[in-house]
Amino acid sequence: MRRFVLIAIPYLWLLALFLVPFFIVLKISLSDAAIARPPYIPQFDWAEGIWAFVRELDFENFIFLTEDALYWKAYLSSVKIALISTALTLLVGYPIAYGMARAPEEWRPTLMMLVILPFWTSFLIRVYAWMGILSNEGYLNQFLMWTGIISEPLIILNTPAAVYIGIVYTYLPFMILPIYAALDRLDGSLIEAAEDLGCSRAQAFWLVTIPLSRPGIIAGCFLVMIPVIGEFVIPSLLGGSGTLMIGKVLWEEFFSNRDWPVASAVAVVLLLILVIPIVLFQRNQQKQAEAEQ
């Protein structure tokens, strides 16, 4: 009985906080928009029975998504931005994780603290701070003009570059931590063994360090990519109107157009897209857990 309760708790949690909301969204995505409150029909009515209700549901909104180029372009652009920014985050995060893992033992807690520290400030405030840094009269331009490197301010804010900067900055800890965990576990004598057997430092890094930190790299990449695909705050605050991302489209459908059914359809498709990397991520974690036994 106790066992049953222990197993049931996470499933109940999942049911209440994921599956039930998901089915509500799915139901809305199959409804029609209406000027009402809530702004869609049909509403379930006990008097008419379940069949009358189900018969009114259809896939109209999903078909609509395929008809308007905006949507698939937004999905594609989101995936592209997610892939590029994941690569950039990896490029920045790997050396940081490597440096942390090789730092003297007594510094490591401090370095770890520094990586986690930004989480203590609200995410929104940090993104607003980047607006202050990147804008035409912002600190970055002021500094660069003061040093004389540039004479005209660089236009960064409201371009894709600002989005990438924002994403790399925000998601960097999610990349660093799993890679650091993998590198920290790496036995230093393996590198020595590689050198002993004729590897140069660079070869040893490439043939031993990288393959052995691969589970960390994969975990980090998924942890960055999955949320970035649906990211809404960073592109809308830093990317201006030129950056097309599905999160932004979703927001506009929902709040500007008040078209809940289409917004829900967008969300359902987004979820389906995310299922693929999430499943791959789970497989990676599982394989790693097996390898460690």
Binding site: L190, E192, A193, D196, G198
Partner: protein, 359 residues
């Protein structure tokens, strides 16, 4: 082949290797023996190139090896932890060094297979290190370090993780491989029995110094210090004062009211010089009557008996309270043993049975 010339290695304030000079010869099986923390691994790491001496030089075939990085040295090391690459199969682990040396594919394949045969790992070639047992892993590590046919092979406590039976088998295998390949082996161990078994020469270390380096028999029979005598095997140490008789024999006064002992020593002692007399338990004869012709005989009573199967060690308490150990072969059944607890017995030995050591 290898020469350590006044090598000192310090880690900060701590001196791990202290002004050490030693020669290791070609095709030798050389064992470094010493308690944990005495600097054995540090010596190996200096040979492999992972540490540089603070002072002094190490010569390999007459050449200072200090400027040569580890990946360019004709030296391979078998790590204490094995350090097998977990992401590579047994086959790939063994091939790793050969691939770096750009060996042609066909030769490489043959060499790896030869190594697999040598270490009897053929069936496990495609397993990953975590899919094989500790003993097999240890053989993979050995095969990997042997594959490049190094001039010098360093083995850092290679058999530490094995149980006794497997350990003995592997010791003989190691000796066999050393003979077959003609490689110079330097093995680190803190197990004196292992060092004695495999090595042609043993160096006993203490606090970053080599106290004595000699053949196993000489180390055992004629240790040059109390430290070595005590470290290798079981020993009785009697403190006393030496007085030269004629020739190389000395009289040792060791306890009030006790007959002095007689012992020979190649090393001269002055009259009245403090000395330690060391004698192995198996060289002490135990008897119930005083033997007529023994050069040395002391009386005591049996304090304790340790039964080891083939041998028994008798702990005999002498009149002044000293415990002396005597070992004898159990040629008779245990129930027919001649002496038992509290029995008065005589211990005797010849003048040449022990060694006389200065302080």
């Amino acid at each position: 082949m290898i020469q350590f010339r006044n090598v000192t290695k310090r880690f900060g304030q701590f001196t791990a290797i202290d002004d050490l000079s030693i020669d290791i010869f070609e095709r030798e099986f050389f064992a470094l023996l010493g308690p944990s923390g005495c600097g054995k691994t540090t010596m190996m790491r200096m040979l492999a190139g992972f540490e540089t001496p603070t002072e002094g030089v190490i010569l390999l075939s007459g050449q200072d090896i200090d400027p040569i990085p580890p990946n360019k040295r004709a030296v391979n090391m078998m790590f204490q932890s094995y350090a097998l690459f977990p992401h590579l199969s047994v086959w790939e682990n063994i091939a790793f060094g050969l691939k770096r040396a750009k060996m042609p594919k066909q030769d490489l394949k043959e060499r790896v297979e030869e190594m697999l045969r040598l270490t009897r790992l053929e069936q496990f070639a495609h397993r990953k290190p975590h899919q094989i047992s500790g003993g097999q892993r240890q053989r993979v590590a050995l095969a990997r370090s042997l594959a490049k046919a190094p001039k010098l092979l360093l083995l850092d406590e290679p058999l530490g993780a094995l149980d006794k039976k497997l350990r003995q088998d592997t010791q003989f295998e190691l000796m066999d491989i050393q003979e077959k390949t003609g490689t110079t082996f330097v093995i680190v161990t803190h197990d004196q029995e292992e060092a004695m078994t495999v090595a042609s020469r043993v160096a006993v270390m203490d606090h970053g110094r080599i106290v004595q380096a000699d053949t196993p028999a000489k180390i055992y029979e004629t240790p040059n210090s109390v430290y070595v005598a005590d470290f290798i095997g079981d020993v009785n140490i009697i403190e006393g004062r030496a007085t030269p008789n004629d020739g190389e024999t000395y009289r040792i006064d060791w306890a009030e009211g006790q007959e002095p002992l007689t012992a020979t020593s190649a090393h001269p002692f002055e009259k009245g010089q403090a000395c330690h007399f060391a004698i192995r338990p198996e060289k002490v004869t135990i008897s119930s009557e005083r033997p007529a012709d023994a050069a040395n005989a002391v009386q005591g009573k049996v304090h304790d008996i340790a039964y080891l199967g083939n041998l028994s060690t008798y702990h005999v308490e002498l009149a002044n309270g000293t415990i002396m150990k005597a070992q004898s072969a159990n040629t008779r059944r245990i129930s027919r043993r001649s002496y038992t607890w509290e029995d008065p017995v005589w211990l005797s030995w010849t003048a040449t049975a022990g060694v006389l050591l200065a302080d």
